[in-house]
Symmetry: C2
Subunit: 216 residues, 2 copies
């Protein structure tokens, strides 16, 4: 749909626009100027216009943007106008928590299966979906045309399972394993490295100075 190569920085900001526009829509707001959106989101109006220009601008700048239209268009760009099936690899605490999270479903991400190599977990249910053994994974991926695999397994196991995922049609890996994955071109990886995020917080706490007084 979009021919031009868009930077990952811009892509990374789209979900936040989508979130704010969804809230405006729910609040009954019909139009908003880039200036108003700028104040709400604490980014410059120029940044907003530049970001939107990557996608043709969504028009109506004098008038302001039509909230409903903008929300729907950004949703389309994000691929939220179609459903995406996903499986979770790893039925530990985090895997089960993600399986139970209903908000993903509202965005069109459909929880289809969950897999683990631990026999004691197999047969347990996560939101009505039974945990299956890893040997059932390849056929399941193909038969259900699974697009996304969520990896919530230790890093050593994560590296080993990537080939199986890719060979059986998975296009995107949402990786919670604490390791960088090598995938063939055309397969997308989005990392959530929780420990990295916590360490960044730790740095910012440790290095925070008491607030200076004065005007300099």
């Amino acid at each position: 749909m979009v021919e031009k190569e868009i930077s990952q920085a811009v892509i990374g900001r789209l979900p936040r626009y989508f979130r704010y526009l969804g809230e405006l829509k729910d609040d009954g707001v019909e139009r908003i100027s880039s200036q108003e959106l700028s104040e709400l989101m604490h980014v410059t109006a120029s940044q907003i216009r530049q970001d939107f220009n990557n996608f043709g601008g969504f028009g109506q700048q004098g008038y302001g943007y039509n909230v409903e239209y903008l929300y729907r268009e950004i949703g389309k760009i994000l691929g939220l106008d179609t459903q995406h099936s996903f499986v979770i690899i790893g039925a530990g605490n985090l895997g089960r928590a993600l399986g139970n999270y209903l908000n993903f479903e509202r965005r069109g991400f459909i929880f289809k299966g969950i897999f683990d190599r631990d026999p004691s977990l197999i047969g347990r249910e996560v939101r009505g979906v039974p945990v299956q053994g890893m040997e059932a994974l390849p056929a399941f991926l193909r038969e259900n045309a699974i697009e996304i695999a969520v990896l919530t397994i230790p890093k050593n196991s994560a590296v080993g399972v990537v080939d199986t995922l890719v060979e059986n049609g998975v296009k995107g890996i949402w990786n919670f394993a604490h390791v960088d994955l090598n995938v063939p071109e055309g397969v997308q990886v989005e990392n959530v490295h929780l420990s990295d995020s916590l360490m960044k917080l730790s740095y910012n706490i440790s290095s925070a100075q008491p607030v200076k007084s004065g005007n300099d």
Copy 2:
């Protein structure tokens, strides 16, 4: 300790260096050149040197870096040489999963308490720590000198709890609620917006083109 203002982009890369150096150390590697580290991590050697120069460079470039020393120094910069106590606000699936995650403890993040307003969850245990009601939160934060609060509650509740956290000495908020928080200066927020991350993956899947052949 560090006087200069370091960019958040550099800070964001430190945990990844720390992770790779930890693995090298565990593998018995004693020295590594910026060139070798560059190949391993798929970033340029120049980027590595620039990043490290923010912290005085860690020396020994001709020789390569001493892995153990570099690992320890980056750990110190990240504030991992001291313990940080944390509480979890929200004892739902995600909150319990994070409470059960032992790796945080290994890095010096100590799980002290978990709170929820749902009476049916109160008294249940997460890794030996009982869920308490929200009314117990202020005194608990002060008495245990809690530094970090992990927010795994819905966005409306998250906004309301921030004042209580800040007034009772919390310095950092690890925010999983799907909302941007306003905090006073000197309080740090690190966001993990899982839905945003999943939408970014969805965009990249939807916009991925089949790999082009040819040399252009």
